[in-house]
């Protein structure tokens, strides 16, 4: 925690204001992924628009620009400073095509009120921005974000976010985590951030928790961009991998809703050097995770406390066996348990799918 007793000179008079300043999350994901930062900034701006007195009906298009794109749009677009400040910006958000930095601190706007979506898309492609991350905010009748991480030229990987859906229940969190699990479960899908040091021998990388935490933050931050911030401890405190879903937006100043606290644990058969890890040690590891989730959850008054175990062991023993001795204690401590088994090869993943098919009645394949 930062030293709060240090002198602040002429800002000393503002100390109380500074200590309680609303953290709007700008810069929260900057070091993780600029697209997350961009998505969060657009979601925040869109929800502010929805809450405003004049209900927006036109569509707003946001293209994440870089220096080259800014250079191209500058001659034909109007610069609008203070984009996040509704009372001071010189132009309304809807009815415009915006070229913006990830923080949405300012933007270059092109009027689109008389254009249909197809024409706006053509305008984007004319500026060679078809592959730049783009988010479309359709305010009417149901406000939605249409997110194109690879730009409008790649509509097959687009996502839709319902801005009126403000639910942060266990099921919503699980749904978001399920999306990240699809990436984590096979080494082929995690080549950029490998979890296995030697997958054939089930040796995880030394800091597997960090890679998993990164994916979990991505999943939750993307899914809840319009509601809450995903916060985690600073990287210097290695060993604690708690993730929190915290909401300040849309609440009276000073109010905070801590929707969820999620503790992450990696279950291993071996350490990264190949040293075997016993079941007993893994049970202790799970116990420690439950304690942390309960303790931090109580301390922070978190509505949901979860322990997510990412199981990198040789054999998938199933939830019932893995958590047999934990269900009761977790119920007593109000901690929700979840396990995700990570396969050491895509062949093992395919085998697991086939085992499910057989258990559901498909005839087994010959050996």
């Amino acid at each position: 925690m930062p030293d709060n007793s240090e002198r602040m000179g002429p800002w000393e008079a503002d100390r109380q204001e500074i200590v309680h300043k609303r953290a709007n999350g700008t810069g929260l994901y900057s070091e993780i992924d600029e697209q997350l930062e961009f998505r969060k900034a657009v979601a925040r701006l869109a929800t502010d628009e929805i809450a405003s007195v004049v209900k927006p009906t036109d569509i707003a298009y946001f293209v994440l620009a870089d220096k080259l794109l800014f250079e191209k749009v500058r001659p034909s677009a109007d610069r609008v400073p203070m984009l996040q400040n509704s009372s001071r910006r010189s132009r309304s958000i809807p009815g415009n095509l915006w070229f913006v930095p990830k923080s949405l601190a300012q933007g270059y706007a092109i009027d689109t009120k008389s254009l249909i979506a197809e024409e706006v898309f053509r305008e984007i492609e004319t500026l060679d921005a078809g592959e730049r991350p783009t988010i479309i905010v359709d305010f009417h009748p149901k406000p939605r974000l249409y997110i194109y991480p690879g730009g409008i030229s790649q509509p097959d990987i687009s996502e839709c976010l319902d801005l009126l859906n403000k639910s942060v229940a266990i099921q919503d969190i699980e749904m978001a985590l399920e999306g990240s699990y699809r990436l984590l479960r096979s080494p082929d899908q995690m080549k950029a951030l490998p979890l296995w040091k030697n997958s054939e021998k089930w040796y995880p990388v030394e800091k597997a928790e960090d890679a998993i935490q990164n994916q979990v933050i991505h999943a939750l931050a993307g899914r809840f961009a319009h509601i809450a911030d995903v916060r985690s401890e600073q990287p210097s405190t290695i060993g604690r991998t708690d993730v929190e879903l915290v909401q300040e937006r849309g609440l009276p100043n000073g109010s905070v809703i801590r929707h969820a606290l999620i503790e992450l644990k990696v279950l291993r058969s071996y350490g990264s050097t190949g040293k075997p890890v016993s079941d007993r040690i893994m049970r202790r590891h799970i116990s420690q995770g439950v304690r942390q989730a309960a303790h931090y959850g109580n301390a922070n008054n978190s509505k949901i406390r979860m322990l997510c175990c990412y199981d990198m062991r040789k054999k998938d023993v199933g939830d019932a066996t893995c958590f047999e001795k934990f269900y009761g204690p977790c119920k007593d401590r109000n901690v929700h348990l979840k396990r995700y088994f990570l396969y050491n090869s895509s062949a093992a993943l395919r085998q697991a799918f086939d085992n499910i098919a057989v258990s559901e009645g498909a005839s087994p394949l010959p050996e």
């Binding site: 000179g9 700008t26 900057s30 923080s103 300012q106």
Partner: protein, 220 residues
């Protein structure tokens, strides 16, 4: 070739080249924040904030003191390196004009990276892994400053916790990093929301937002 030069400069602590690198990183961040062409006052304000807020990113300030002026911060030594980069063709200069500054005349201008020549150098800075945190910090600072109206930079900087310290008169040195000096700005940035683990980026954004809030409050 560029990589070798940079590595050499880093090892030999070549201040002139290191200042030029800092300028390129600040301009690169400003370009990605849509701030180009960057007015001279904004560039020097960015340089000042990259010094005074460096501890928030666990970095050392490059210049730990600055001469206080009536207007926003200005580094004559940095300006020399900026002019040198213009001469080398890495930075383009436009909107050149004379402005009266504290009773004297000086040249004012706006600056833009000259992509053809600056991109290989900026790529080399990245490729040799030169102070990667500094690059992120400069980029984030530019994102935060992009929220301010450029014509209000001078007013806003007058509200800075360090530069705007009323106990330091104009024409005196504002010292925030040398000897027993206290860095009010970095302390203020570190004081935001002790109840949640803010990232250094968030602290920089909150600091600049608060600068703006103070400027608006006092203007009102």
């Amino acid at each position: 070739m560029a990589s070798l030069l940079l590595e050499k400069a880093y090892q030999k602590d070549d201040l002139r080249l290191l200042r030029q690198i800092r300028l390129l990183l600040l301009l690169d961040g400003a370009a990605d924040a849509g701030l180009e062409p960057v007015p001279l006052t904004v560039l020097h304000a960015l340089a000042y904030l990259s010094n005074v807020l460096a501890p928030v990113w666990h970095l050392q300030p490059f210049d730990g003191k600055i001469l206080k002026r009536r207007d926003s911060p200005f580094y004559p030594v940095l300006q020399e390196e900026l002019d040198r980069l213009v001469g080398r063709g890495l930075i383009k200069v436009s909107e050149i004009r004379y402005v009266k500054d504290e009773g004297k005349w000086r040249i004012d201008a706006t600056y833009t990276l000259h992509g053809e020549f600056s991109t290989p150098v900026i790529n080399a800075i990245r490729d040799i892994g030169f102070e990667p945190v500094l690059k992120i910090f400069c980029a984030e600072l530019a994102q935060a400053m992009a929220a301010l109206p450029p014509d209000l930079i001078a007013t806003v900087m007058g509200e800075d916790a360090t530069y705007g310290d009323p106990t330091v008169d104009v024409s005196n040195v504002v010292n925030f990093a040398e000897g027993q000096a206290v860095n009010y700005a970095a302390n203020s940035a570190k004081a935001f929301r002790p109840d949640i683990p803010l990232t250094p980026s968030e602290r920089v954004h909150l600091y600049v937002q608060h600068l703006q809030d103070r400027a608006q409050r006092h203007a009102g």
